[in-house]
Symmetry: D3
Subunit: 341 residues, 6 copies
Amino acid sequence: MIGVNKRIKAYGEVMMRLEAPDYLKLEQARTLKVLYSGTGVNVLSALSRFGHQTSLLTKLPDNSVGDAAIAYIRSLGISTSDIVRGGAYIGMYFLEKGFHVRSTNVTYSNRKESSFCTSVPEEYDLEATLQDTSMVHFCGIMLSISEQMRYNALYAAEKAKQLGSFVVFDFNYRPKLWEKSDVQAKACYEKMLGHVDVCFMTEKDARYILEMGDRELTDRKQQIEAVIPLVSNRYHIPIIAGTMREKDPDGKHSIQGYMYHDGSFHYSTVYEYKTLERVGTGDAFASGIMHGLISEHAPAEMVEFAIASCVLAHTTYGDSPICTEAEIWSLVNNTDVEMER
Amino acid sequence: MIGVNKRIKAYGEVMMRLEAPDYLKLEQARTLKVLYSGTGVNVLSALSRFGHQTSLLTKLPDNSVGDAAIAYIRSLGISTSDIVRGGAYIGMYFLEKGFHVRSTNVTYSNRKESSFCTSVPEEYDLEATLQDTSMVHFCGIMLSISEQMRYNALYAAEKAKQLGSFVVFDFNYRPKLWEKSDVQAKACYEKMLGHVDVCFMTEKDARYILEMGDRELTDRKQQIEAVIPLVSNRYHIPIIAGTMREKDPDGKHSIQGYMYHDGSFHYSTVYEYKTLERVGTGDAFASGIMHGLISEHAPAEMVEFAIASCVLAHTTYGDSPICTEAEIWSLVNNTDVEMER
Amino acid sequence: MIGVNKRIKAYGEVMMRLEAPDYLKLEQARTLKVLYSGTGVNVLSALSRFGHQTSLLTKLPDNSVGDAAIAYIRSLGISTSDIVRGGAYIGMYFLEKGFHVRSTNVTYSNRKESSFCTSVPEEYDLEATLQDTSMVHFCGIMLSISEQMRYNALYAAEKAKQLGSFVVFDFNYRPKLWEKSDVQAKACYEKMLGHVDVCFMTEKDARYILEMGDRELTDRKQQIEAVIPLVSNRYHIPIIAGTMREKDPDGKHSIQGYMYHDGSFHYSTVYEYKTLERVGTGDAFASGIMHGLISEHAPAEMVEFAIASCVLAHTTYGDSPICTEAEIWSLVNNTDVEMER
Amino acid sequence: MIGVNKRIKAYGEVMMRLEAPDYLKLEQARTLKVLYSGTGVNVLSALSRFGHQTSLLTKLPDNSVGDAAIAYIRSLGISTSDIVRGGAYIGMYFLEKGFHVRSTNVTYSNRKESSFCTSVPEEYDLEATLQDTSMVHFCGIMLSISEQMRYNALYAAEKAKQLGSFVVFDFNYRPKLWEKSDVQAKACYEKMLGHVDVCFMTEKDARYILEMGDRELTDRKQQIEAVIPLVSNRYHIPIIAGTMREKDPDGKHSIQGYMYHDGSFHYSTVYEYKTLERVGTGDAFASGIMHGLISEHAPAEMVEFAIASCVLAHTTYGDSPICTEAEIWSLVNNTDVEMER
Amino acid sequence: MIGVNKRIKAYGEVMMRLEAPDYLKLEQARTLKVLYSGTGVNVLSALSRFGHQTSLLTKLPDNSVGDAAIAYIRSLGISTSDIVRGGAYIGMYFLEKGFHVRSTNVTYSNRKESSFCTSVPEEYDLEATLQDTSMVHFCGIMLSISEQMRYNALYAAEKAKQLGSFVVFDFNYRPKLWEKSDVQAKACYEKMLGHVDVCFMTEKDARYILEMGDRELTDRKQQIEAVIPLVSNRYHIPIIAGTMREKDPDGKHSIQGYMYHDGSFHYSTVYEYKTLERVGTGDAFASGIMHGLISEHAPAEMVEFAIASCVLAHTTYGDSPICTEAEIWSLVNNTDVEMER
Amino acid sequence: MIGVNKRIKAYGEVMMRLEAPDYLKLEQARTLKVLYSGTGVNVLSALSRFGHQTSLLTKLPDNSVGDAAIAYIRSLGISTSDIVRGGAYIGMYFLEKGFHVRSTNVTYSNRKESSFCTSVPEEYDLEATLQDTSMVHFCGIMLSISEQMRYNALYAAEKAKQLGSFVVFDFNYRPKLWEKSDVQAKACYEKMLGHVDVCFMTEKDARYILEMGDRELTDRKQQIEAVIPLVSNRYHIPIIAGTMREKDPDGKHSIQGYMYHDGSFHYSTVYEYKTLERVGTGDAFASGIMHGLISEHAPAEMVEFAIASCVLAHTTYGDSPICTEAEIWSLVNNTDVEMER
């Protein structure tokens, strides 16, 4: 069903991430670690390790900062030949990594004037760019930025659909960003869902954005099993998947993946996880499912691969997952090795 | 009772801390991390984050090392305008951070000839400096250094009292430092306690220094409840507070704060803690109580705020606490967030 | 004439500087050095080392990035108590240091939406803030940002004048910034000059902004001697100063300072200079003159001190000059020492 | 029995270790940490801290890489005066440290052409070098490299024996290295065991190399108690020791040491351990036993010291153990201290 | 004549470079800077910045070291889709950068067993790979490695020629490498020259390898003008170019480019240069000429562009040139700017 | 005359050097580079590279700081088996490297209470230690520290002389250190000279300490030729050597060595030098002469070798010279190579 030997693309913003090293607060740091990421970058980085041809659709300034972002994205194995150059700025965020009870702190700099967020669909020549594309990935954060970004996302999703690509959408709901907006998130998300083939979400997204779900239920799995089939039905989305994180009273974190696939639920193993890196781990799950779909794995296998990809993404540095397919299968198959030598 | 809108000051030594990075031993390190701290610096650093005007009373050499210490202390938000310049040396200590069963190792360089430890009270113009001061903080380590230091501490505490400041004293008993001394710690501490309004100590300090307490009792809380009221009564100190650390058989560390306040005991929540930084966490507790006293919080609230300040200080780099009041209340209120974005 | 024992202030933006280390291009860097600067910060940093009380008037976001900027500025010895907190962003620039024939490359991120550039004069309570202020420094870059910034600068300069402060203005003309503007630089600068007591500029500023000067003259000194008295006369500015840089055919860089003071020209020694740091060296000259004016040095001495301050600023890291008064006089007096030990 | 006041030597290869810092993968690293190690280096490093004179028998290239290895080995306290210089290359390995479920990854570069692996026994003048030597340590990895290396190892072990040294042998079986070989490991190991006085191994080595042991037994201790006396008997080795690692379902790692000494088994305390460094921890155990033998400690004491040495080696950076004898006894005696100051 | 819109390729080895930072010797370094380069990588890196599609023909091990090399090469803008994976090792070299009179020191590790140096032509599917290729670059070092490497180079050059690509060859003569060889360099080079369209060399290469040239002439230009036309004639190579470096008695280094183009000599401006990086600067010259040939610039322009590319390559970090076409033209046009802002 | 195959020793203090990296001032540094040096360490480091057995006589604290110093000294190739452990502190100095017109700034911490400076001769068992010693090196700084240090130096020099060692003495006059002393430098130096066989000094030392020399002479060489024979004669010192540094009006630094050897003067080539490291370069000269004496080189050769050693020491990091004998002869023989590969 999904085109094999075609490229997987993602349409989304590239952010410069500036991180205080060694668990410092920004005020203590005289150097910052820098990398370039974004939901699209992250998903494609993982898919490149799984053997797929990938390419990013975005716009970056035509200066040394844009050059730096492109060099970084290329190093992840993603083609940058579809990237449009122009505008003046790149979106940025500052990261103070938390430690134990101290939370991780993310501070955004101005995104609204970034090259990507001020771009219009005409700049991307989507008609040509989306030829020979098996899947296109979109992220819900884009809907929160501005009227222009909403327009761009919907325009591109519709175009992708027309040209025969699978449309993948990740809710990625950030309440803070929508609070400041006059626009209702629900209407935007609903328009987007009209184009979507695969969607990543949880019962919380259903409740807070789509206003669906039964608040009486206290068990997360029961909530998911109650609401996800309704979402699938209402918006004609055959595949919905996501992760459930828990923290036990002892302070241990665990995670489990679920996938609703053509009417049935599939759950992964529950993993305890430890965190070297928190950002981008959801994208590691999403890319695991996308890989399974293209490779036509069985649903149970897909969700096992995806959650192992997600758990491993907590153990590598940077937003963008970099574990290979072999490393992920090795975790799935539980070949427990302290040291490979 | 305590002057609002007045400055909080601390009278104490500034140490240069030289730390082997990345859990190295000194012999493995070709770079050392450097910062400037001290009990007084630490307490004032925290209080500055809580919105208070703070200023340090100390003496530093008039050379590039002294300049460096002052730049660092200023960056913490502490006024350096009361600092006297002169003498030739700064006190220093080397830090090898432990890992799991390997203990942290502190090695002092020569303090006795430091600018501060060779200074005399006349240099500080305390009459002027302690005007408009709500509280002055003293640390027990000063009493162990030399006859001069003992004289300076007692002179300044008495002067502070006369001028209407609250006198805060932290026992900070270091048996190693007193072992080498011909002088008895008890007599020195008792003279100091004669001037004190708030004091930080545990039942161990009572036993080893003041020779009070019932050795038959095996439970720490029982010991504290037995001896602290006696201390309060004998030395006329209305407020005594401190922390109790435990390590369970599983290797987990926990901590609880107590405060004896006008005849009643108040205990905080027990927290498990993990340690990015061990030094200065007691000072984070002390500054939390000091903040509560000035802000006239209820005693139960004070001790909760103080212990949360202490637990968070284990999660930030450096001796000097740098969490904001908001971050601390957020932990008290247990709003559990993995990532703020 | 200028208030002694009063504070020197600067009204201007704080920028975060992000620098690729070790002469790397941004695309090669995985860490960036970070510091916080700005013309005002730089001038006050130097003046703090010369023994003056200084304070910065600006606005910074009330988040961890703003906290970091404030900690850095405090570490330079500048009071931050006048700083207004609010807005969302800080201005930023990226720095790729050049090497030999490769030029240094500066890339600005979006400044227009920064906390400072979106602020209005009412937020600063200038009436109160400029009491007890001997001098206020303004930078010409502010005039190029936006209508609001021009309004703020002129409003504050007028207010400062009314309240008896000396108004210091540095042309700091950046043709690139004005090119993009519909507004004519000349008119803006002329309004500003109406309030100014001391001004920093060269014959190029006179020609390109004020449209004054004789293009026939090929010698820089002749040009300066022709045009600066006219500027002084037309705008009633008694003191004008600046620097002349030259590069000889052998690739050596040299610099000389001039000052026009109550009708006479004074020239400094010509220095060859080598560059560890290029940014902020003009501010080191300006602060040297300001120090001379407050200290009522002879004009010849002022310009010698200022140029030595400028030459030394090329040899220390960071935009903000950090040499002490003693180090600068030592260069003036040419006590040539390879090593102080 | 073992010569006191004599030197302890090890005959083995020095490897350059190149490590991606901060848990990065190699592809993310622009700097690598470098150190020089090897089983022999590690054992001697520990023994130097326990007060013994040690010296390494190896060959290193006569270039700046060889100089660097020698400077490093000297800094560990090992004499380098027996090292032969010549050949062209040093063996190397790349290390990507694992995190939680992600395994540590070791990649070897070409060892077969290294200076050591292409050397012949005549180069070492063993007759002279092994005079005045109490013990010589050999590592089983050497047997897997090449016919030449097997010859060298057996030749030197025989010579050592003749000259009255104790021969210590660590199985260090690496199945990957032997898989590629046409030679059977068993025969090689058996020849070596003919010269050995002390040997480090577990029941796995007995099973996979010597083809001894009862596969029916599921308990590790039972297996050890069944097979080790047989090994001791068949090859006339009076002392055999080793460690048993376990991972409990909760993810905690524990370790216990055993020693078979003149017909009796001795077991150490079981320790939970956390890992800053995994490589070289087995060598820390071996050197602990070797120290006990020379010092003529009681067997129960030896194995306690050795396992504590091993556990501490997990907490210090680098392959080569660097804890002092005092630090190890302090762990044995369980004097639990969070911070030494 | 040369195919436009086709890819430029290079056939050659990728080396891992390990550099002691900050002008340290290896024995002083505990971290090494790592990058991946090679003559082919360097030439293609530059050509990518000049707007060309480039791709590297090489073989790299299928492990984490090979992955790291590929990520780095991709970040330079070079396609890695033609790279063959397999074998076990990567070639490496150690770099100690010199300072003033201390020379730079390069130490090679074993290359002969590297994946590339043990590969055979069949692995590369050259028939397919060299389709749609405008130019292929070869480096003379390859001829010195082994019989296999000579065979591979000649085979690929012949194939490239047959398929209509321009063959570019850089002499890159390293006497040390040939000294150890039984094979005569001359015969190998002559075979290679039979396929070559453009060649980079100097009069020294002609003398030491081809045994041509008049030793009586003392002036370098005279020597070049005497011998290069003979080389061009004898081997039917229409375009020959190279650089001449001089060091004047004052210690200043200068460089000039020459190009012999269809029977005429063209010389560039003489530049003084300063060195941040020495390695790869010759490749920057070669790629400048290659760019000029494809772009059909006038010969005088080509050599000016190429020498400016070379001079700038001395000012950027790393073997692989990273200056943009615009930056190079800006130096050619001598727009002297200290700082771009 | 001088014992071959004997050890060369130095009796002197080890200092911890703490350096602000990258030309920062201390107030800008959050990490410091650390190393361990001293005149004796430096001289022996060089002599180890020249193939001599060396050993340091000093006292270091028996803690982790002392261990670190010893590991560093061993890595330089110096034996540490003569080092006495005890006392509490190590001497330290802070280094801010200068840049162009900004001077290097050295700040000492307290040396007077260091382990070495509080030691007494009895601790060193000199009778045994100085057996089998060909030369012992002393540094004039030791004479300035305290009465105890003067006593120790003279005692050891006398003992060395008795036991048949060559006594080498470097004036190393630091006026600042003597200014603070009540003692006259002259008397101390004269006592020392009574034991000396080789001495390093210039005409300035003769003038300021020994009060010899003709102030009328303006040329340095004339001064040296006037005074050095008188010194040689008065104190019976057959060999005196030293360096003369000059700075030309263009800012270039040059240096020349001289040696007065059995009544004749020998001068080296004049070298221009550039400085990566200034500290310890005089010690590189001294060790060059010492090497020449032991190796019985001709005087002209000795002084050429010594000055080349000195010039190269300016180009390597750290106080202690680390160039090999081959590298130094290569500079003497002026084989000019930009890069060794």
